[in-house]
Subunit: 330 residues, 2 copies
DNA sequence: TTGTAAGCGTTATCAG
DNA sequence: CTGATAACGCTTACAA
């Protein structure tokens, strides 16, 4: 592998002069520039950024740490991050934590060993901040820490709107299936749910709350439970896309018609690219936009252009009403 | 940021001794080991792998270059790659080419600047091999070059089986929608289609072939065209998941019932995690397994444990018959 | 305009 | 068992 030294030798100049040509900074005579460019081509020289990064103390790389890139929601967000980062000359390394604090810890360590310049992170519930030595932005989750930059969606009002929609359709007994209690997103969605219930005078009627994980199994198992609970709920609120799928599976197994026998609403829309028959009424979060804004914020921190104070960006959620929600069955 | 020097100073030893503790190699007296470990904890020392990689001439990092991580097929494959790489102490950087030769070129350059140890790549059709200075494995696509390691699925036989299924249902006029002519996967699927047609004596009847891109738009537009072509095809073969979605959209727009008025079969299954109502008859490729095997092959090349000769691993495809394919309408 | 020297953080080598 | 030295490839600071 040729180095900058080899190029310099071949062009009959000092490595420093080659460096100047490579980075387009400082003066180089036209003649030497030509010779150097020729040498680069001849040797098929590719700069080694390990040297550069070591010297410059930055890698032009950001880390994106999410729970599971298999979830289309994170995938979309990741594209927002990547596209934005690329536009600014940065690149991305992605880490999947699978919501495991241990995996998260190991990724944070690894990525810092790699000297990433900053983090975009969807933290598991475990404390983690003290492990980070570089700037970072928290995605999707609310943070009580008043010093942490955050980009997230307005889960409370999204959940409120979905629930209001159900109430207006006449539903009186509902069930919500959500994630862990220590998960801000789960809490906010339940809070929005509660708020709408109160507003419509439904708080004192039997409503069901199921706390589990943001995955398919949780949706599946609790839905089975819901079907056996009296008074039978007439609507299910699945608080993310995976829970919704579990819910739909369980309903289908019991041949429960949606929405004739049961209404279903959910958080997170599936990308149009992978669904040919959008069916669920959802609160759609602007995943790509979240990734984009978070990246812009982080980059402005890195360049020192961000406001002094902590930023908390809260994006609105779009309610999309489809066929899965209907009036209360008789 | 503390360095190995700082740790050494604090522990009253030489940096080299710290290095030995860090990497668990060479002898270090128990007493010094204790002191060093204490110093590491006290300073909250995190090794800088830029130094290590520069010195060792390897980064323990592999590059995965795919067309679009937004496609669940690639996402699943990526998890197979990542999990396998992690198990062996390697990490992954992902690049999206969007099937653009230019993007691919820029990624290959960038990733080599980063000194990745090897590539797993789904190449766009453009020549690219000469740009790679490190070992690599080609994924998903067939390569005529007899020196290139490849891991792919048996597209020919998968397409053959799907077509046979249609023929056995009584279909006599079919349409296939596929990718570009210079795309080995597209060609193979058409070849499998043709083979089945011949076997069932359908080659001389009017069959339709549409070459486009492996995306939703291609599926959508050609399906519209199919609906206007006489004799009307009674079955559509969509050669990947995105084309299938475009096809379904176009059919739904015209209120064509599947399978009553039109049968549809496709390549690539959607992950169970993101579909609550699997509907399409598909040829399912083992995406995770592909990623896993390709990574194992690449790692064995890197460690010099691979067979001398070029490996071409061809995985079988599973046909899953669902509701989208039925007998010919009258 | 160009080159020299030094250092970024790590580890292989070899001498002690 | 331990440490000094040099080297990995690059760029900043300074000198010419």
């Amino acid at each position: 592998m040729p180095t900058i030294q080899d190029v310099a030798k071949r062009a009959g100049v000092a490595p420093m002069t080659v460096s100047r040509v490579l980075n387009n900074n400082g003066y180089v005579s036209e003649e030497k520039r030509q010779r150097i460019e020729a040498a680069i081509r001849d040797l098929n020289y590719i700069p080694n950024v390990l040297g550069t990064s070591l010297r410059m103390k930055r890698t032009q790389t950001l880390a994106l740490v999410v729970s599971d890139i298999t979830n289309p929601f994170w995938t979309t967000l990741a594209r927002g991050v990547e596209d934005t980062a690329n536009q600014h000359g940065y690149h991305i390394i992605i880490g999947n934590t699978d919501e495991s604090p241990q995996k998260q810890k190991s990724y944070l360590l690894f990525l810092q060993k790699k000297q990433v310049d900053g983090f975009l992170i969807v933290p598991t519930s475990t404390p983690f901040l003290d492990q980070l030595r570089v700037p970072f932005v928290v995605l999707d989750r609310r943070s009580d820490d008043e010093t942490i930059d955050t980009v997230r969606c307005d889960s409370i009002s999204g959940a409120y709107e979905l629930t209001k929609h159900l109430a207006q359709l006449g539903h009186r007994h509902m069930a919500i299936i959500t994630g862990r209690q220590d998960h801000s997103t789960a809490c906010d969605r339940v809070a929005g749910f509660r708020k709408a219930l109160e507003e419509f005078g439904l708080s004192d009627l039997p409503q069901q709350f199921y706390w589990g994980e943001f995955n398919q199994q949780t949706g599946y198992e609790f839905t089975q439970q819901i079907l056996q609970t009296e008074p039978r709920a007439t609507a299910i609120f699945a608080t993310n896309n995976f829970i919704a799928i579990g819910t739909m599976l369980a309903l289908r197994e019991r041949a429960i018609q949606v929405p004739e026998q049961m209404s279903v609403v959910a958080f997170d829309d599936l990308p149009a690219a992978i669904t040919f028959d959008p069916f669920l009424t959802v609160a759609a979060q602007p995943a790509y936009e979240m990734g984009k804004l978070a990246t812009q914020l982080l980059l402005s921190r890195l360049s020192g252009n961000a406001p002094e104070t902590r930023q908390e960006i809260v994006l609105p959620i779009e309610i999309i009403i489809r066929r899965s929600s209907g009036v209360v069955p008789h």
